[in-house]
């Protein structure tokens, strides 16, 4: 980075550190924090959309819709997310490649499963092996987004299904007595009202999502955990900046990052809640400060 850093073996003290902390490897580490934030920012709306669809489906009168909806929501509650992350991305990857195989080269001589291998013709591969490395990263990131979206979509479905139920039945009855159709009640009464009830659950979900991001490295992405481990491990003099085992410091840094993110989210949540509760017929909205009291 700086011209001083040309020969790290001559450096010492503060110079050494400022050069060490600005190696391309460290810059990649810092960038990976952006990757994590990007993932959260992209996954949140995706999961919300999937969850909304699942919650609506689970309320459907037709078992054809409600059963898959409920099953999907229940499944994520029964299975640890880490188990999902270990095989959903592989399943997605193979699924996509299989679809492309059907479209591009369905007459492949040996089929796609050849012994242990799952191989499609090179034209159907995702991304193409000739593609620039950036596309491989984008594809990996995309798989991660879908995997996280599926897991957290089920969680969000759970929250939203609960908040649909929390909307007072009297409001729906009033809507019906005005002669509204089912879909009108859904659009004009149910959906606008449920968000306030869903917000506490969704804010929890947001916090869970933040804390699930270290699992990204399981999906093969070079995220903050990957770089913290790689940079922190002890380095012999084959590296330009040899040092003993520093993983403790690197992971300490991650700890602080997550604590900060949590604190910021908490403050933001309180503000949003205060705004949304204004004028609502709940305790918080009527200006009372809650049920505090007791001994």
């Amino acid at each position: 980075m700086f011209p001083v850093c040309a020969d790290p073996s001559l450096l010492s003290g503060l110079d050494w550190f400022s050069c060490y902390l600005t190696t391309p490897k460290h810059l990649a580490f810092f960038e990976s924090f952006g990757l994590v934030m990007l993932l959260i920012a992209v996954v949140a709306p995706v999961a919300l959309a999937i969850g909304f669809a699942a919650a609506v489906a689970s309320r459907s009168a037709s078992p054809l819709l409600s059963l898959p909806g409920r099953g999907y929501i229940a499944l994520a509650r029964g299975v640890p997310d880490i188990v999902f992350f270990l095989f959903v991305p592989i399943a997605l990857d193979q699924g996509f490649e299989y679809l492309r195989y059907l479209m591009i080269c369905p007459d492949q001589p040996d089929g796609v499963w050849q012994g242990n291998n799952f191989l499609v013709c090179s034209a159907a591969k995702l991304p193409l092996s000739t593609a620039a490395p950036i596309w491989h990263s984008v594809y990996g990131f995309g798989l991660a987004v879908i995997s996280f979206g599926l897991v957290f979509g089920a969680f969000a479905g759970n929250v939203l299904a609960g908040s649909f139920k929390a909307v007072p039945i009297a409001q729906i009855q009033t809507g019906a007595s005005f002669g509204m159709t089912q879909s009108q009640i859904f659009r004009r009464i149910l959906v606008p009202q449920m968000w306030v009830f869903a917000l506490p659950g969704l804010s929890n979900l947001w916090q869970i999502l933040i804390k699930a991001t270290p699992l990204l490295f399981l999906l093969g992405l070079q995220d903050i955990v990957y770089w913290a481990r790689e940079l922190g491990s002890s380095k012999t003099s084959i590296y330009a900046y040899p040092h003993p085992d520093w993983r403790l410091y690197y992971f300490g840094f991650l700890l602080i990052f997550y604590l900060g993110l949590t604190a910021i989210s908490e403050v933001a949540y309180k503000r949003i809640m205060a705004r949304l509760s204004r004028g609502q017929a709940t305790l918080a909205g009527s200006g009372k400060t809650g049920l505090r009291g007791g001994v």
Binding site: K25, N117, S129, S233, S234, T236, I238, Y241, D245
Partner: protein, 240 residues
């Protein structure tokens, strides 16, 4: 006439492009001096230089891909890269699932390394090894207590902090660590495992295997492989 010439040139060019296939080279990037990620964020080490030379001789365009050791074979099988060049010893167990080229690194001993003066018992003590390595398999089969870590670096840390009595790993990985430990770590035993190190390829990829085999042979014949070995592993290394 002129256009014919251009067409001819174009054909020659396109043939050239067709033969220079892109091959994705999968490595771990955490096993110096075989392979590691240097401070410039590039894959570096013996295998990087060997791989680039092999690709040049086989007329292939090579791209480097870093993958966790745990899933390095499944990702080869899934076609996420085309070769494994990650200090992987040739063993019967692995040979059932993937194919290996001829060895580019002769069979070398694995070292047991312990703290100086610790008097480690290799037969019944606690031995650290990286998960999924031939060394882990070997320790599990002896009477010793195997303790597994995800990365090679953690196995060394375990010996340093007294978690494990000794670590079993490739001698060339351990040699620089012993040298730079200032006498704290010593070699306390050795054992020969595997049939050397080769490139892993899918069993269906015979063409790539042949190309790589030919390139390795040519590097063995003109002595350039030996030069690389000495450069990365020191003068004591076994050569061809």
């Amino acid at each position: 006439m002129k256009s014919l010439l251009i067409a001819g040139l174009l054909t020659a060019l396109s043939i050239n492009i067709a033969t220079a296939d892109t091959v994705r080279m999968g490595t771990e990037g955490a096993y110096p001096p075989y392979n590691f990620i240097n401070d410039k964020k590039e894959v570096d080490g013996f295998e990087r230089h060997l791989g680039d030379e092999l690709c040049k001789r086989a007329n292939l365009t090579c791209v480097w891909v870093v993958n966790e050791w745990d899933s390095i074979i499944p990702n080869l099988l899934a076609g996420n890269y085309d070769t494994i060049i990650a200090g992987m010893s040739i063993t019967d167990e692995r040979d059932k699932v993937i194919d290996f080229t001829q060895a580019y690194y002769p069979p070398a001993p694995s070292f047991y390394v312990a703290l100086d003066g610790a008097n480690a018992d290799l037969k019944s003590g606690v031995i650290a090894a990286q998960t999924g390595t031939i060394q882990a398999g070997h320790v599990a089969a002896t009477g010793a207590t195997l303790v597994e870590f995800a990365t090679p670096d953690e196995t060394i840390a375990a010996v340093r902090n007294g978690e494990a009595d000794a670590v079993l790993a490739d001698s060339d990985y351990l040699a620089p660590i012993i040298k730079e430990s200032g006498g704290k770590l010593v070699q306390v035993g050795e054992v020969y495992l595997g049939d050397g190190i080769g490139l892993g390829v899918r069993e269906t990829d015979t063409a790539l295997k042949e190309k790589m085999n030919k390139a390795i042979t040519s590097m063995k014949q003109d002595g350039s492989l030996n030069k690389l070995l000495v450069k990365w592993f020191g003068a004591d290394v076994k050569t061809y």
